[in-house]
């Protein structure tokens, strides 16, 4: 069980139990399975491009390797930014009070590249925060589910059905003008589109 999200607003702390919100839990899901001539499910395997090795489940592993080809233990891994500077590890924010900022402009939430959505169940919500959230205001707090080199942001919102945290990293879109060059294509998003498990 994950620790709670704890936020501090107007001098009072509120603790929320969190539950990941996913499409499958709301609407169900679909899966495409391959069946053989007898209608029994097939398993997937991979064939190397040279046709030499058939890779069945349990035959592969993955890991990080240094430029000399030596495998790096997970415990020895760090991270660097685009300029090559070594980054420090941000601890998990769960269980540790995080200062809430806001109310914030809803455009900030729209510009968030959302990675996770959580339903929050308050364990005794501070009155000032309860009032602000029920008035439709949105608040922001630092968020890391687990220690990471990238710090995410959580936006807290409330509607008639509950309180939710939208988690991700800011991704503001570029402005376009008559003479501006077209923005760069995000090719990674195309890959994410191929999802057969959605209705």
């Amino acid at each position: 069980m994950a620790k709670n999200i704890v936020v501090a607003y107007a001098g009072a702390e509120t603790s929320f139990a969190l539950e990941k919100l996913e499409r499958a839990k709301l609407y169900g899901y679909r899966r495409r399975i391959a069946v053989d001539a007898d209608g029994r499910p097939c398993t997937r395997a991979a064939l190397t491009e040279d046709g030499q090795v058939l890779l069945r489940t349990g035959m592969t592993a993955q890991g990080y390797f240094d430029p000399n080809g030596r495998q790096v233990e997970t415990s020895a891994l760090t991270a660097i930014d685009a300029a090559g500077n070594v980054l420090s590890l941000s601890p998990s924010t769960l269980g540790v009070a995080q200062a809430l900022e806001g109310p914030v402009d809803p455009r900030e939430v729209l510009d968030l590249a959302i990675s996770s959505v959580y339903r929050l169940v308050p364990e005794g919500i501070a009155p000032d925060l309860a009032e602000e959230l029920s008035a439709g205001h949105v608040f922001r707090a630092p968020f890391n589910y687990r220690p990471d080199y990238q710090r995410e942001v959580a936006y807290l919102v409330q509607n008639d059905t509950g309180i939710f945290a939208l988690v991700g990293v800011p991704a503001p879109p570029p402005w376009l003008g008559p003479d501006a060059p077209p923005p760069a294509e995000d090719t990674a998003a195309d890959d994410a589109e191929l999802d057969f498990e959605m209705f």
Binding site: L21, E22, R23, A24, K25, L26, G28, Y29, R30, R31, I33, D36, A37, D38, C42, T43, R44, A45, A46, L47, T48, L54, L55, G58, T60, Q62, G63, Y64, F65, P67, A76, L77, T78, A82, L87, P106, R107, L110, V117, R119, G136, Q150, Y155, V157, L166, V169, A171, W175, L176, G177, P182, A184, E185, D186, T187, A189, A192, E193, D195, M198
Partner: protein, 233 residues
């Protein structure tokens, strides 16, 4: 770049380009200040899988692993794996030489199977002859972010001076009203947007912003409402 065929509230249509919004790439993994590569490699040959070892050495093959390393094939283990092709293995363990039949299985929110059927192919519907239309549903931005999780955004991009004017006008109209408008595909303009064959169906809301001659016309996509799952019985 890909195209979307769009109309505005007055049914003026145009084909415009769109691009995904790129977020900052995650930090590069490193060791000793140097970037490291992530790669998949061969960890066991056919004779080194759990099933093969179990067959030869019995259920409790731990001792055999310690004494003789039967799972390690020096010739192949550690080999980097590049691109591969998917193959299917039948229930009896044979590699299929012909494409298998695909069955679509539907599960409810409780995880229980509801239906099995032949797969339904869903074509893309954003660049058809019938344009994507503005619907009647409009939400204030502050309400939209509290009702839906917009997990993907594409930005509409002009292709020439006329489409620049067109998109700037749409962005201005929406920005001034502080509204997002639901757009839909199909003859009635009510179908969810599907960007590619068998792609995820999305509910799309246009959001606009202007700053003088500059504009942002953003198609905010959601397939997740912010609501509590139904309690299990």
């Amino acid at each position: 770049m890909r195209l979307i065929h769009l109309t505005d509230a007055e049914n003026r249509d145009s084909n415009v380009q769109f691009v995904g919004i790129a977020s900052a790439p995650p930090p590069t993994r490193a060791a000793g200040g140097q970037a490291v590569l992530f790669r998949r490699y061969l960890a066991a040959s056919d004779d080194g899988t759990h099933e093969a070892l179990q067959k030869v050495h019995g259920d409790d093959y731990g001792k055999a692993l310690l004494e003789g390393d039967p799972e390690v094939d020096i010739e192949s283990v550690g080999r980097a794996i590049g691109a591969t092709n998917t193959v299917y293995i039948s229930a009896s363990g044979e590699v299929l030489r012909v494409a298998p039949r695909i069955v679509e299985v539907l599960f409810g929110p409780d995880g229980v199977e509801r239906e099995r059927r032949d797969p339904v192919e869903t074509p893309s519907n954003i660049s058809d002859a019938t344009p994507v239309r503005w619907g009647k549903v409009r939400l204030k931005r502050k309400d939209a972010v509290r009702r839906l999780a917009f997990t993907r955004t594409v930005q509409l991009v002009h292709v020439d001076g006329l489409t620049c004017q067109y998109l700037h006008g749409l962005a201005k109209q929406l920005d001034e009203a502080d509204e997002m408008v639901l757009i839909g595909a199909g003859a009635a303009g009510r179908d969810p947007l599907v960007f590619q064959v068998n792609g995820v169906p999305w509910r799309g809301f246009l959001e606009g912003r202007v700053d003088g001659p500059r504009y942002q016309l953003l198609l905010r996509l959601s397939n997740l409402e912010l609501k509590a799952p139904e309690a299990k019985a």
